[in-house]
């Protein structure tokens, strides 16, 4: 035991707790119980240790020791690769795949959450050493709140108006509202689709959103989340029964066609609304200077 033992233990504990709080099995269905979680709690513990011991290293004027934080960065980039590889491997076996953009989004969040853990552990230990354990508690709790805020990005319902619109056929063409989805030839398939299918129209609220929801990865993420939460009327060998999203080229609305097992409109609208907006899909044309010059 020396003067740094308790502060470091404190930092490691709050850091690990932060990782556990940020680790949720929810609509993303990932990571799953039990081993997936163990991996991430263990990595969270390592991240917390790195954050905690950085403070005494600086205080002892041992500045070179801080360079091991770069090792941490490499390590957590590796976490991102690991997540990306695992999810890409299993994506082929999903009835409705996640899509590469969604996988990338999940992988990025795993990496960034480890950095938030480092920050929490660092602040906890620093406050403990400078002031006392009570202020360290306050600092750690503020960090946890910041982590929680940073963790949750915007969702689809912030971007669009969601309306129910029953799918219908015009000849062999399947439509949701006036948006063409696909061509279904067999009358019996058409009946199945009318019986089990549901359609929704997502109307963008502003110009930035048009491009974001048109992103193919974002669309696939919506389909995946809905299929996970409501089930999907589909099997291998029935390629005609496939949930799809198509776009109205005139005004940027998108038509969502899904085949859920639980056909509850309100639930479906809530679930579509709760789909996270993928970081890779976010576009901000209104912030582009050259575009604004042209407009003015």
């Amino acid at each position: 035991m020396n003067e740094y033992t308790m502060p470091i233990v404190f930092g490691v504990v709050v850091g690990t707790i932060a990782r556990m709080i940020m680790l949720r099995t929810d609509y993303r269905q990932y990571p799953t119980y039990l081993h997936g979680k163990i991996i991430h709690v263990a990595l969270g513990f390592i991240a917390a240790s790195l954050g905690a011991v950085a403070v005494p290293a600086i205080m002892e004027m041992n500045f070179t020791a801080v360079t091991f934080l770069t090792v941490a960065a490499t390590q957590f980039r590796e976490v991102r690769n690991m997540e990306r590889n695992t999810l890409s491997e299993i994506d082929d076996y999903e009835l409705v795949s996640r899509g590469k953009a969604y996988i990338e989004g999940i992988a990025i969040s795993f990496e960034s959450r480890n950095y938030l853990v480092i920050l929490t552990a660092f602040v906890g230990t620093l406050f403990y050493l400078i002031w006392n354990v009570y202020i360290a508690f306050v600092g750690a709790i503020i960090c946890l709140i910041i982590s929680k805020v940073l963790q949750s990005g915007s969702t689809i319902k912030d971007l669009v108006e969601i309306e129910y619109s029953p799918p219908h056929f015009d000849g062999a063409g399947l439509y949701v509202d006036n948006i063409y989805i696909m061509n279904i030839g067999l009358p019996e398939r058409q009946e199945e689709i009318l019986k089990y299918g549901m359609g929704f129209v997502l109307t963008p609220k502003n110009i930035n959103v048009v491009n974001t929801i048109a992103h193919l990865g974002q669309r696939q993420a919506i389909l995946h989340d809905v299929s996970v939460s409501l089930g999907v009327f589909r099997d291998s060998g029935t390629p005609a029964l496939v949930p799809l999203i198509k776009r109205d080229l005139d005004d940027g609305r998108i038509g969502v066609f899904i085949l859920p097992q639980i056909r509850d409109r309100e639930k479906a609208i809530n679930i579509i609304g709760a789909v996270p907006v993928l970081e890779t899909a976010i576009r901000m044309p209104s912030k582009s200077n050259s575009r604004n010059r042209e407009v003015n």
Partner: protein
């Protein structure tokens, strides 16, 4: 180049409208056409698309 979509079979009741590389199934009437298309769809994992009442194609997506 990877070909992502391909016409795997053509099913028709009017043999004069079709020719070409994919296997062609000629049926007597619309009923037989539908049955053949449904079977082929299940067997070769493609989607049966209707081009007209007398012409269906099975496409692999």
């Amino acid at each position: 180049m990877v070909i992502e979509k391909a016409v795997l079979a053509i099913i028709t009741t009017n043999r004069e409208t079709v020719s070409g590389g994919a296997p062609i199934f000629i049926c007597k009437d619309f009923d037989e056409l539908q049955k053949t298309a449904a079977n082929l769809e299940a067997i070769i994992d493609g989607i049966a698309h209707a081009l007209s009442d007398e012409l269906f194609i099975i496409v692999k997506h």
